[in-house]
Amino acid sequence: MKIGRDDKTPPEIATAEATAAGDPTAALHGRLLNVSRMATIGEMAAGIAHELNQPLTAISNYASACERLLARPGADLADVREALQQIRAQTTRAANTIRQLRALTEGEQAPRARVDISDLVAELNDLLRTNAHGVQLSLDLAPELPSVTVDTGQVQHVILNFVRNSLEAFVTRPTANPCIEIRTRLTAAQEVELAVTDNGPGLADQARERLFHPFFSTKLRGTGLGLAISSSIARAHGGSVGYRPNPGGGACFFILLPAQTPE
């Protein structure tokens, strides 16, 4: 994986604070972005709480078991040793969850970095799986893609947003064997594409036109901001987002980002 800092941040992706005094549209965009990302994180928080509670429960059980085993005469040390190893493994597991959460929230002010988009997906893997609730999630990540120069937090936000839309579509319209696939590839136009495809109900024709307009939503409690923000993040990176129906039924949302020429 190749991550380098790029200090020549283009002006259009400057943060909300920097632009608040100038362009009011940019300031609004910045604020909306914060609200939407916090909403996504809020929804993910329940999943994260669960994901931390699991190793904590296991650690606590193992520790108690050790105390009780050692209190017995002729204690079986093999069991105790096994428990201690497991405690360490569960601690690592909890630490990984926290690291992921931090990576996601620190994206806020992060300068752009040169990354492989597949790595960004891989980083989200555990978080996505925790929130999948019975939906089969598969990854088809192209190896050795040209890198993209992005605000990693923002692009991960777009990915989470796409996946969340698919998950919510399954809730609205239950599907047998619900599946979501995240695929990365290089297009013929030398753009890096990340596509999130599901086998859910897909979208009605009339919804497609206004899909990326702010405050348009097909969801019962949607804010209509998720895709609008995803779209403006993509544009700020010189890319775009789009929708195409999945040939086998269901929806496919994708983001295209300009590929960097190799150094």
């Binding site: 509670n53 059980n61 009780r68 428990a83």
Partner: protein, 207 residues
């Protein structure tokens, strides 16, 4: 035949949690079997297997609540202790309404889990003993002839022999013989005990 030994079944999709529970139970001398899904448990479950079930409420595939419903449909007596995560209280309430033995919220105190598991095992052994007792009574009552059963029905309503004889169109002597047979076959020490046996069996048939 010796009944199988009591086993605690731990069903949780999280490997760390279920293995830690197994070791915790082992540390106090309680044998357990761990399973990763509700389906795995249902496939292995035998109704005559005594024990209790420690069940994660939230699992992919069949949830803990759905497993409980399946067990209820099968008329299973195995007591279920639910383990719920943070914010799963509405689910815990639903589980209790559907007859769960108890529930624990993660992370829980180890002693709470051990205490509840031990109580659930006691409950299971009692309900199995009661079931066996009822089965024995039922067997005895089923050995009655239709006429004897008719007499028993009138006996437990407290009908005097004389009235019963008129009701059935037989002699008092015949009624007395039937009565004696009923008491002998049911192995009841008194009319009061016979009444209790019948109530027991009937409440089971309804439940």
């Amino acid at each position: 035949m010796q009944p199988p030994a009591a086993t605690v079944f731990v069903v949780d999709d999280d490997e760390g949690v279920r293995n830690s529970l197994r070791l915790l139970l082992k540390s106090v001398g309680i044998a357990s079997r761990t399973m990763a899904s509700a389906k795995e448990f249902l496939d292995a479950y035998k109704p005559n297997q005594p024990g209790c079930l420690v069940l994660d409420v939230r699992m992919p595939g069949m949830s803990g609540i759905e497993l409980q419903q399946q067990l209820n449909l099968r008329g299973a007596v195995i007591p279920v202790i639910f383990i719920t995560g943070h914010g799963d209280i509405p689910m815990a309430v639903e589980a209790m309404q559907q007859g769960a033995f108890d529930f624990l919220q993660k992370p829980f105190r180890d002693q709470d889990l051990i205490d509840r598991t031990q109580r659930a095992l006691v409950r299971d052994s009692r309900s199995r003993a009661a079931l066996a007792q009822r089965a024995r009574i039922l067997e005895r009552l089923e050995s009655l002839t239709p006429r004897e059963r008719e007499v028993m029905g009138l006996m437990i309503r407290g009908m005097p022999n004389k009235v019963m004889a008129a009701e059935l169109g037989v002699s008092q002597r015949t009624v007395e013989i039937h009565r004696a047979r009923v008491m002998e076959k049911s192995d009841a020490a008194s009319l009061a005990q016979l009444v209790r046996m019948v109530i027991d069996v009937e409440s089971r048939a309804e439940g």
